[in-house]
């Protein structure tokens, strides 16, 4: 293991335990305020956990136990790249990148040579003499990347590195990250499922300060067990109490589906008389049909709803109703005369619904 972390941060109510294999890229996803950035800050030494410890490549970063130990940020060997590139405004691009090597004791010319090398690595050697204020957002983030890599960090911490970039710069930087992250131990906080799919080997989903889901990226998104992971995967999610192969939601709606076999906890929750277990029903918007009147026959789920929004979604129209969505053809929208505010029925076959214990 390159990294082993357990930490509890009381004032943010964050409690996590995670490991990272050498050369692995781990994505942390989760809703705002889930504590993702706190985990990175604790590893970088910018936040002091109340309990726990971290060991990076055999060296203790902190230990909040009885044998107290705290390595300050500048001795940790962790590189950090945030949403905001935070290039030092009073230094040229080259000197920004040379800052790390200089402070590691390299001479001026050798630090600048290292900096030039990394600017070439990230594809912007021609920007060396510019001032940070003269760069575009994408350029600045590349330079910030070069600056973080120039210190040859043992652990790279990326905090939504592409969140502030425009739609054209993000793919370029993502391609760059794909290249430079290969073989580098990295933890990346992201909101973008594409980042997780393209860049990460493994994904952790956090919610309210706890890790709620963990596993290989494809597995987590393919069989989401938390509502957040399901919404990341673009699925409709309904939560409630598990009743056999159905979920009874808080407002009295029953969703029936197939009980997903993967990872059912010990003890069959379907046994009658067992205490209520929370369950999640997930289904794809493309599995939903929209009707003006409730259809007859076949074991189908039918939800009476009002349309809140219509928006284009590829070649289809996404019909939204609160947190649920249905993808239908433009022809169907025209035929049904769908407009926001209209009362409709969302219908989905039970075979299209996956039910999980949450």
């Amino acid at each position: 293991m390159a990294l082993e972390l357990t930490a509890r941060i009381d004032h943010r109510d964050v409690e996590v335990a995670l490991t990272l294999a050498s050369g692995e890229t781990l994505a942390i996803m989760g809703p705002n305020g889930a504590g993702k950035s706190s985990v990175l800050a604790a590893l970088a030494g910018l936040l002091r956990p109340d309990t726990g410890s971290a060991v990076l490549n055999g060296r203790e970063l902190f230990n909040a136990g009885p044998r107290r130990n705290w390595v300050p940020p500048h001795q940790r060997g962790t590189g950090m790249l945030a949403q905001d590139p935070l290039l030092f405004p009073h230094l040229s691009v080259l000197d920004n990148v040379a800052f790390g090597p200089r402070n590691a004791g390299a001479g001026r010319s050798s630090a600048r040579a290292t900096a030039q090398h990394w600017l070439e690595e990230v594809g912007v050697p021609e920007l060396a003499d510019r001032r940070p204020a003269q760069l575009s957002g994408g350029q600045a983030q590349r330079v910030a990347m070069a600056r973080a890599l120039a210190t040859d960090p043992q652990l790279l911490l990326l905090d939504e590195p592409m969140a502030a970039l425009d739609i054209h710069s993000a793919p370029l930087l993502r391609r760059l990250l794909k290249r430079v992250l290969a073989g580098r131990s990295t933890i990346m906080v992201t909101h973008d499922v594409l980042d997780a799919l393209v860049l990460a080997d493994r994904i952790i989903v956090m919610d309210r300060g706890r890790i709620v889901e963990e596993g290989p990226t494809a597995a987590v998104l393919g069989h989401p067990r938390s509502p957040f992971a399901a919404s990341l995967a673009g699925l409709n999610v309904m939560m409630g109490a598990l009743r056999g192969a159905s979920v009874l939601t808080g407002d009295g709606v029953t969703v029936t589906g197939r009980l997903a076999d993967a990872g059912t906890p010990d003890g069959d929750p379907c046994v009658a008389g067992a205490p209520a277990v929370a369950g999640v029903a997930a289904f794809s918007p493309s599995a939903v049909s929209v009707f003006l009147a409730p259809p007859q026959g076949s074991p189908r789920n039918c939800f009476a709803l009002a349309v809140t929004e219509l928006e284009p979604h590829g070649d289809l129209i996404r019909v939204r109703s609160g947190r649920l969505a249905a993808d239908v053809t433009p022809a169907a929208v025209a035929e049904l005369g769908l407009v926001p505010g209209m009362d409709v029925f969302f219908v989905v076959k039970a075979t299209e619904v996956s039910i999980y214990p949450a």
Partner: protein
């Protein structure tokens, strides 16, 4: 045109009309306010005896006072930087019990009459003072010396630098400092290579304010240091003295003091703008 976005920064010299929500009577009061400051300056300037101006300001006592003022104000500004930068950093960056109280007390010299400040210094460092007795034992006597002038000036000027720099430090935030630390910079390296360059404009304007306050110091100096020509009689003290003996000289020296102040202020405003500010304003 609806939907068009006005430029963020008005181009200097452009006469682009822009709606302002300032009522006219506010302009009228603003004019009175500006006149209140500018008219007395004109009033004094017309009183200047231009025929003898040069003789008046180059007399032995005038030159001694001017030189003493510049020297002591320069040294006290340096002392303000040496003590004020750490003070501002501690106030802006760390959190400790009694911090708010400490800040209020440090800013006291701004509101306490300088004479009171001078008395406080006298009863602390004077021959009979709290620390003065012990210092006297070692043969150190500060009161009524040039050192006392510098101490009086530093006492009244220090809050200006602390206040200005603390505000700039808070605005700049700690994010650049955190990045520098993760790049391996030790705290002292972060201070000298990141923090100070970023807050340079605040430090500079704080230092200029301190210098100006030191240059104009009168009450605390007179109380704690007295008025000995060439030793403790700075320009403001000389002007006050000449007001009784030779009003023409007092007016001439006042003009010199104003010119020095204008030069200092102008130099500050000619300085390049903060790199941080241009960065934040965007390209």
């Amino acid at each position: 045109m609806p939907g068009s976005v006005p430029p963020k920064v008005a181009v200097r010299g452009s006469n682009r009309w822009e709606y302002t929500a300032v009522p006219r009577w506010v302009f009228a009061l603003a004019v009175i306010g500006a006149a209140f400051i500018l008219v007395p300056l004109i009033g004094m300037t017309v009183k200047v005896n231009w025929a003898n101006f040069f003789t008046l300001i180059t007399s032995d006592s005038s030159r001694a006072a001017l030189w003493l003022s510049l020297k002591t104000a320069g040294i006290s500004t340096a002392l303000c930087i040496i003590m004020g930068v750490p003070l501002a950093m501690v106030l802006a960056r760390s959190h400790f019990y009694g911090q708010r109280l400490l800040r209020s007390l440090i800013l006291l010299p701004l509101v306490v009459p300088p004479v009171v400040g001078g008395l406080a210094l006298l009863y602390t460092f004077g021959r009979q003072g709290l620390l003065g007795k012990a210092m006297d034992f070692f043969g150190i006597n500060i009161a009524f010396s040039t050192t006392a002038v510098i101490m009086a000036q530093t006492f009244v000027a220090l809050p200006f630098l602390v206040l200005s720099l603390e505000g700039t430090l808070r605005t700049a935030g700690q994010r650049y400092e955190a990045v520098a630390a993760t790049l391996g910079a030790k705290p002292t390296a972060v201070l000298t290579q990141i923090t100070l360059p970023l807050v340079w404009p605040g430090l500079l304007s704080g230092a200029v304010l301190s210098f100006a306050r030191s240059l104009g110091e009168f009450g605390a100096t007179l109380t704690f240091a007295g008025s000995l020509q060439g030793v403790t009689r700075t320009l403001p003290l000389e002007i006050y003295l000449q007001q009784e003996l030779d009003p023409d000289a007092a007016v001439a020296l006042s003009l010199v003091l104003i010119v020095v102040a204008i030069v200092v202020v102008a130099l500050t405003y000619r300085m390049p703008r903060s790199t941080l500010r241009t960065q934040l304003a965007g390209p």
